[in-house]
Amino acid sequence: MTELFGVPIQALMGQLLLGLVNGSFYAILSLGLAIIFGLLNVVNFAHGAFYMLGAFLAWMGLSYFGLNYWVMLALAPLLVGLFGMVVERLLLRRLYGLDTSYSLLLTFGLTLLVEGMFRSIYGVSGQTFDMPDQLRGATNLGFMIMPNSRAWVVLASLVVCAATWYVIERTRLGSLLRAGTENAALTSAFGVNVPLMVTLTYGFGVALAAFAGVLAAPVVQLSPLMGQHLIITVFAVVVIGGMGSILGSILSGLMLGVVEGFTRVFYAEASSTVVFVIMAIVLLVRPSGLFGRER
């Protein structure tokens, strides 16, 4: 068996694939963040809380109403998106035009509120969420066993990311959105309802986070703390990709998932810090991120 740096090639391929799984997760989360920052100039620290809300709504749907995973995959993002729109109209709207630190603080406070509330009701150990039958089982790829649930996460994330990128970059609706952020006054002069567009955009970004949450529900511990662990890494991913760049966040999410995977093989203790080391290097060399534009 051939080896690379003392690790068998087969094991490395397995880690590469796992890295892609995690990376697609980071991609869909950082996409939502990048959209919100790119189009609204809001640093949405509450992204982790919305992710957790999506997962918890999926669990509530299953436990209280008997609605299965697939129904909640469509319903939870919708509900969380609506909630996000309410947040935007009532709270965030007042902070536009001010320094981005204000929106960061507001959304951070929101995170503490939401997570604290869920923690006091449900505790931190997490809820049981049974794997949906269609996702049970695993496929033997030869060099590793890939659970079907993880393969589904990759597929769903990449499809949604690709669709979102296409809408924003290639359709008229997307061009309206981009125009609205570059020059709101001019765009509204054309008869476009810019505030409504902004609200809908925030709702959509947040719905992406909730979608990731539902994807994660059968796979990870469904605890009120689940967003906390991810949000910092996802922020680093967005910074590396470039704060406003849609494609940048998707690509750097995937790339960093793979880098993390390899670090886990060679020096596992560093796996939680390697993303930040890369972020520091990128900020030093190219402050606007790998794919970002100068602001």
């Binding site: 931190v124 150990s125 990870v220 511990q221 703390l225 662990h229 796996s271």
Partner: protein
């Protein structure tokens, strides 16, 4: 007449002075309050092990002690260490220096408890470590003021580790939380494995609070060991077990949850945990007395208690009994009383605190029931065997504590 009156008056005066002096000696409580401090993980991955419900258990203990001793109130203060050793240590220091805290209870996280034990030793105040696991608290890092109450990594290694090796699990691979607790647990369990003829094929360290275990599990599978030892706890254990089931690790390896609490089993469900062995010092459904206390706990918190929550109650009562026996809350007198005490309550029938601070009591090797065997809510464990205290913990003669006279 006058002379008798003066003599009588003098006698009464001297008598009452003597009485007053006697009273002052009899109840020397600092600040006229007995203050107990709890520093625990109240909001992080270990919050269900002790946490806010653990606080309820301590309050129950104070209430059962009538809320006062010698006419002085018993108070409780609580803080969250957020799994950071510096926060725990500085809070402990602040409480001892300015807060008038007379005894510190330590919650989960061995690194934080090790730091707090040093502060307590420096300030000459009793520190009862309950949630933390590392056996270092009564070995290399022992102090005259530390008591390690409920369990430790040695007992876990001997219990679960020993049982699995004896049952045929000769080759092991460890998935270890990368801090003091994980390292202790891996070391102590490896010692047991080696002593019983087993072999450790390898290990991987994961960061505390890791969100994804898939790549570590892949490495574990590649080792081809029979047993996967999970040297982690709380949320990390829950995520490890979930991922291990997903990736089919459980088809080729047996999982050893070296530290598992009933809150973990409740969260994972019996489908994922059935058949797993675990070692614990307390189970709510063990006998009539544990059930009676657990019933009160359930009414207050709507959950059955973990070993740590039950130990919070027992340790508080033990401390208060020691204060009562010593007639003061002075640390040295209280510590001397605690090391003389025979602890007999629902938590243990025959607990003793040794010179190295270790509270020795019986431990239980449990196996998680299957769904079919579980007849009512929280009916999760069956007792496989009782491990007598002198076999469960490090023998005093082998203790690395400098306080133990060899």
């Amino acid at each position: 007449m006058k002379r008798i009156n003066i003599r009588a008056a003098l006698a009464v005066a001297l008598g009452s002075l003597g009485l007053a002096a006697g009273t002052v000696h009899a109840q020397k409580i600092s600040d006229d309050v007995i203050r107990i401090g709890l520093i625990d993980d109240m909001s992080g991955l270990y919050a269900d092990v002790g946490g806010a419900r653990g606080v309820e258990a301590i309050k129950m203990a104070i209430a059962d002690a009538k809320g006062q001793l010698f006419g002085k109130k018993i108070e409780l203060v609580v803080a969250d260490h957020q799994n950071k050793a510096d926060i725990g240590a500085s809070k402990a220091r602040e409480w001892f220096d300015q807060g008038g805290v007379d005894m510190l209870l330590g919650g989960s996280n061995s690194a934080v408890s090790l730091a707090m034990s040093k502060v307590a030793a420096e300030k000459h105040k009793p520190f009862i470590a309950i949630g933390a696991a590392s056996a270092r608290l009564t070995n290399e890092d022992c102090t005259p003021y530390t008591v390690h109450y409920a369990y430790d990594t040695v007992a876990l290694g001997k219990g679960t580790g020993g049982a699995l090796v004896d049952a045929g699990g000769k080759t092991w691979y460890f998935l270890t939380a990368d801090y003091a607790f994980g390292a202790s647990l891996q070391n102590d369990t490896s010692a047991v494995i080696a002593a019983r003829g087993g072999q450790v094929l390898g290990s991987v360290k994961h960061p505390l609070n890791a969100s994804d275990f898939s790549s570590f599990l892949l490495q574990a599978q590649a080792s081809k060991a029979q047993i996967l030892g999970l040297a982690n706890a709380g949320g990390d254990t829950i995520n490890s077990i979930k991922a291990a089931n997903e990736f089919g690790v459980t088809k080729t390896m047996k999982l050893a949850g070296l530290l598992m609490f009933i809150s973990d089993v409740h969260s994972l469900g019996l489908d994922l945990t059935q058949g797993m062995y675990l070692t614990t010092g307390f189970y709510w459904d063990l006998n009539e007395e544990t059930r009676a206390w657990a019933k009160r706990f359930f009414e207050a918190t709507h959950r059955e208690p973990t070993m740590v929550q039950a130990a919070y109650y027992s340790a508080t009562r033990t401390f208060l009994a020691a204060v009562e026996a010593a007639k003061t809350d002075d640390a040295d007198a209280v510590m001397a009383q605690m090391k003389k005490a025979h602890i007999h309550d629902f938590f243990t029938k025959d607990g003793v605190i040794r010179a190295d601070g270790r509270m020795v009591h019986d431990m239980y090797l449990m196996q998680v029931k299957s769904k079919a065997e579980s007849k009512y809510p929280w009916d999760y464990y069956k007792v496989v065997k009782t491990i007598p205290g002198d076999q469960a913990f490090t023998p005093l003669a082998e203790s690395k504590c400098s306080l133990v006279k060899k």
